[in-house]
Symmetry: C2
Subunit: 349 residues, 2 copies
């Protein structure tokens, strides 16, 4: 029901030792391959974790929105590193200009309109290319053209980036998406060369594909989830359960319906992400055969038909499916004896 | 990209005329049937909308958590009405006692443990019964027993409540769930009588089932979504598109992949609720044949194969599938010339 003064369940706890180990391991992995690590800070949204990543050797941060970049700006400026907004940014130019006064900014572009905005705001760009996800990003073969448009307008072009998100699937998907990533980034770099431009940064990666990175092509990785991990990564075989650094502490509030119990952790803390490859709406490490079968906003219904589960009133930890979604629902994380504010929560623009 | 000083997309806009009409219509519906209206304030989480509902004639508010009740407490006390926490509450008793000093509180119970907590905190209870959703709530026939346990401990028992959430489905589901609701509440009231207790309040309802309420049994309704409405209600035939009072204003940020455009409204503002009966991840009223086929955290991919859609850079409004989820992701709502704080956002406990 509560095990920390003043905090009622549900709330998120962070294991700082596991977090530190995850941060160190990914940094070491990249260092060994001579790849720069630029963690995606949308996952954790906290200054404390960003600081850990920079101290471990990250070359800067990735964010999804200008609002997130604003939160991390001072920290990045102090560390004398830049921020990549890995997104086709569409905020008012004056806001981007204000940000650029505080920290070196690179924004994603996948259109001439995006280049115009960057030119107006006076910030550098990186060209987003699609490597198979079919979300945003130009065809890799066209990247050099867009880079040339930027260069002609005096906009510094750092390179190219892609998101191999189709690696979020079981089996060989991650390896295959990493191969797509390498091919797309190589093609994009070639199109830069054809346009007479240098493509210094070839950035890829997400947590599932990182282990399959082609270090002959990729110069930078942008994983996010690795710092905290979650049930999706466990299901994909990318992380072990003991690598997960964030859990949602929850109380069993009902056992009135036979064959199940209800947790106070529902969609408003676990989120509703449930890809086909995960079992239920999160994992219960203490009760591996109980399954969170259904969620409503404040109810997580645990089916006990598969095995034992927690009793009424018991406090139990849940590993959420998608940690980015969980963190974005919370105002703070309980990390040992500290409470960390989710400073970039809800910074959607 | 932005159409209001200082606010970049994506953000939520509320049409106050539509909101006022929705609030008035549900109140009039209940008044005509002699049913008390106790709106579920988890939907909007804002003091401004709660005030509208109370001024229109609501007998009090429903909330899902003690944290929400704390936000509304002063407003409710001023209006001299009570709050029902329609949930098997499991916060520390001292916190519940503090709340009860500010406002009259009724909490849901579906176990003897819940009754003990209420007794310890000195608050009244209502017995939750299950009417077919199989989530929380005791068997209606057992409600009187639990009420007797409460009465024996000196805990005031207001009555019973149920949530006919299985009415969230197409076709005859809402009518059928409303019939289940009436049967469960009648059975529960009978079990009170058998235990020698009065069951003054028989509370039911959610937005889809409200229109089918059995006024011979149900004394109180607790719909939430009706105030703002959403794409789920439109798909269920409960609301027309013009009844929807909240939209997410969004910008087209990418058209780089053929056959689609990308909105800056993704899962972090639209949520990921997508029941089988809705088309896509939200509606685009201006482009009825375009479909939001896929969402990531900050990307809403609009498939244009079904018909015309917005152009790169265009600002377009989206009706989210589930407005409760959307509101809970946002810190504020833009309502005409006012900005309303989502004061109860993230109050998960």
């Amino acid at each position: 029901m509560w095990d920390r003064a003043g905090v009622s369940t549900p709330y998120a706890v962070v294991d700082r030792d596991v977090l530190a180990a995850n941060v160190a391991a990914m940094q070491a992995f990249c260092d060994r391959r001579g790849i720069a690590l630029r963690p995606h800070a949308k996952t954790h949204k906290t200054l404390e974790i960003a600081r850990l990543q920079l101290e471990a050797g990250a070359v800067g941060l990735t964010v999804a929105t200008v609002g997130e970049a604003e939160v991390y700006a001072d920290l990045l400026a102090q560390a004398d590193v830049d921020v990549l907004v890995a997104y086709p940014v569409a905020v008012p130019p004056e806001r981007l200009r204000d940000l650029a006064r505080r920290v070196r900014v690179v924004v994603g572009v996948d259109s001439a309109q995006g280049v115009s905005r960057a030119a107006e705001a006076g910030v550098a760009v990186s060209v987003e290319v699609d490597c198979g996800l079919r979300r945003s990003g130009v065809d890799p073969a066209q990247a050099g053209l867009l880079a040339a448009v930027a260069a002609a307008r005096g906009v510094p072009v750092h390179g190219v980036f892609t998101f191999p998100g189709h690696g979020y699937a079981p089996g060989a998907a991650a390896a295959s998406a990493a191969a797509d990533e390498a091919r797309a980034l190589a093609d994009a770099a070639e199109s830069f060369t054809a346009a007479g431009l240098e493509c210094a940064v070839r950035s890829g990666g997400c947590t599932p594909t990182a282990g399959h990175v082609d270090a002959g092509v990729v110069t930078e990785l942008r994983p996010g989830v690795y710092a905290l991990q979650d049930a999706q990564q466990v299901a994909l075989g990318v992380a072990a359960l003991e690598d997960v650094a964030l859990r949602v502490r929850s109380t069993v509030v009902s056992n009135a319906v036979a064959g199940q119990v209800v947790l106070d952790a529902g969609a408003k803390v676990l989120g509703t992400d449930r890809p086909a490859y995960v079992e239920g709406h999160g994992l219960l490490p203490a009760y591996p055969h109980a399954r969170i079968e259904r969620v409503w906003e404040h109810h997580g219904v645990v089916d006990l038909r598969g095995g034992a589960g927690p009793a009424l009133g018991e406090v139990v930890d849940v590993v959420p499916n998608h940690v980015c979604a969980t963190v974005n629902l919370l105002d703070e994380l309980v990390a040992g004896d500290e409470t960390w504010r989710v400073a970039a929560r809800g910074r959607n623009s």
